[in-house]
Symmetry: C2
Amino acid sequence: MSDEDVVSLAEGSGGADMTELIDSFKFTNRGRWGNWDNDAATVNIGASKRLLFTTDSYVVTPVFFPGGDIGRIAACGTINDLAVMGAEPLGLSVALVLEEGYPKRDLMRIISSIDKVSVACGVPVVTGDTKVMERGKVDGIVINTAGVGLASAKSLLGRKPKVGDKVILSGGLGEHAVALLSRRFDFECDIVSDGKPILKEMRAVRGRIKLAKDVTRGGLAATTNEVCKKYGIGMLLDESRIPVKEGVRKAAELLGIDPYELACEGRFMCVAEHRNAKKVEGALRRFNREAAVIGEVTSGGDVIVQTFLGKRMMPQPRGRIVPRIC
Amino acid sequence: MSDEDVVSLAEGSGGADMTELIDSFKFTNRGRWGNWDNDAATVNIGASKRLLFTTDSYVVTPVFFPGGDIGRIAACGTINDLAVMGAEPLGLSVALVLEEGYPKRDLMRIISSIDKVSVACGVPVVTGDTKVMERGKVDGIVINTAGVGLASAKSLLGRKPKVGDKVILSGGLGEHAVALLSRRFDFECDIVSDGKPILKEMRAVRGRIKLAKDVTRGGLAATTNEVCKKYGIGMLLDESRIPVKEGVRKAAELLGIDPYELACEGRFMCVAEHRNAKKVEGALRRFNREAAVIGEVTSGGDVIVQTFLGKRMMPQPRGRIVPRIC
C-alpha cells in the first residue's frame, strides 16, 4: 500500500493532516447538535439550557513526566474542553485500555491523579470502562475521558470576532510538550508541564470574552489558524508579547521544533472586544503572570506574526509535529 | 513483580476479577450523580429530566467478523447501554486510537459501520478525537464511544425486583462471541454476530419492565449475578428455556467455554412483574422469535439453573473468560 493508503503519525498530531483525515469521515447524521467542529458539541435541552459533550483519548509517552502524568492530563483535557466553551462541567467518564502486565502501582497513581483533578474542580468521575489487551498489543496504558457540561444560551462561547478585537493568551507556551520531551529524550531542563484545569480562569473571564480555545496539539499555530479558518478572520500577533519561557525556547531549538507548534495542557487563547481586553488580561494575570494580550483580529485570512525583523506567516502546522504528546 | 502486582487479562474480561480491580479505583467525588455502578450514570437536570452518560472502549480482534465489525459494535454498545436504562440516546462520541500504517480502506469501512448504526437509530455522532500511535505500539485500532441520553424520572429503569418477578431474555446467547472466535481461530461455523442496536426492543417493553441489562462481557452469568448482587435477590433459571443456538453450543464445547459466559452485543435480560411477563415476551418475539421468559426472581442470593439433571449454581465468571471480545 502507498503512503496515502495508510494512517500516518502526522494524522494524529493536531495539524492540517489530521484535519484532512477527520474531514474524510462521513458522519451523515448530526441531528440537532451544533459545534461538532468545536472543543465540545452542544445541544439545546430546554429553552435556555445547553448540554455540552466532548471526548479525548490520551496516548502520552512517557506516562509520568515533570509536573504530571497521563491521568492528570486526561482529566484536565476534557474539563478544559468544556470550560473553554463557557460551560460548567457536570461529569467525566474514564475508560482505560491496559496492557497485560501493567504495574498496578502505576495504575493506582494515575487513578489518583484523575481523582485529585476531579475533586479540585468539583467535577465527578461518574462512569467508566476497563479493557485489557495482551502483552505487546498496546503500549502500557491508553485513557479516554469524555465529559458533559451545562451552559446557558447566554454563557455559551463562540461568537464571531470582529476586526480590532484582541487576542489574549493565558500563560506561557509549550511547557507541557517540553517537560514531556525532556523525559522522553532524557535531556536536562527545568520546565514542568503546564497541565492543569483552567476552569477557574475561564470562570473569571468568560463573561468578557467572545470565544476561547485551549492550546493543545499543534500549539498556538494550530489554535489560531483553526479559529481564523472557522470565522473567516485573520490575526496579527506581536512576537515580543507572546510568552515563551527561556527553557522552552532552548529546548525547542535543541529539538528543531517551532515553539508555537508545541502543545500545552493548561493554556488557552481567547478573543475579547478591545474595551474588555485589559480587564481580561488583568484577571488572567492573577492566575499566571505571563498572561498577555498578544495581538488582534484582522480582516486577512492568515495568522501573521510581527517579529523584530518583520512580518511572517504562522501557518497551520503540517507533518509529524510531535507524536503522543497528549 | 508478582502476578497480583500487575494487570491480568482476566481483569478486562467482565467477570469477578474485573469488578475487584474497578472496586480498587478510589474515585472519591461522585457529586449529584447516581447509577455510577450501572450501564449509564444518571443526574437530574430539571425537575423530571434525567441526563444519562456512559462510555466503553472496544479492543475486539479480529476487527471484521461474520455479522459486523468493531465500528458496529462500538456504536451499538453505547447506544444499548443508554437504551437498557430506559433512555433515549441523544448523541455519541467516537474517539479513535490508530496504529501508524493502519489501512485507510479498513478505517473508512469502520467509520461507515458507525455511521450506519447512527443513522438507523437516529443517534448522531457529535464529537470525536483521533490519535495515532507508532507502528507496533497498538494493535491496529481501538475505539472509544461515549454516549449521552435523556430519560424522564418515570421512564428511568432500575427498580428493585421482588420475588416472583420474571426474568426475560431478548434472544439467543453467545452469537457475537462465537462469530468473532470462529474468525479468530478459523473454525467453520454458521453463527453471525448478534451485534445490533436494541433501542426499538427497549422502546417496545420499557413501560412494562423494572430493569434491563445488556448481556455483554461475561455473558448471562455475569449479567444475572451483577443484578442479583446489586439488589440482594436470587434467580432461578430454567435451562430448557434459555435460548442457545446449536451452532453456539457446539462452538462453546469445542472452545471449552460455558455458553452462559459468552458475550452478546445485541441481547438484553430484563425483569418484569409476573403479570407483565408474557406481554414483554410477546413484544420481544416480534424482534427475535427466540426471546423467552427464562426464569424468576427468588429470595436467595444466587443464580441457580434448573437443568435436566437437577439444580446447579451459575456463579459470577472468574478468570480469563475470552479476551478482546468487545
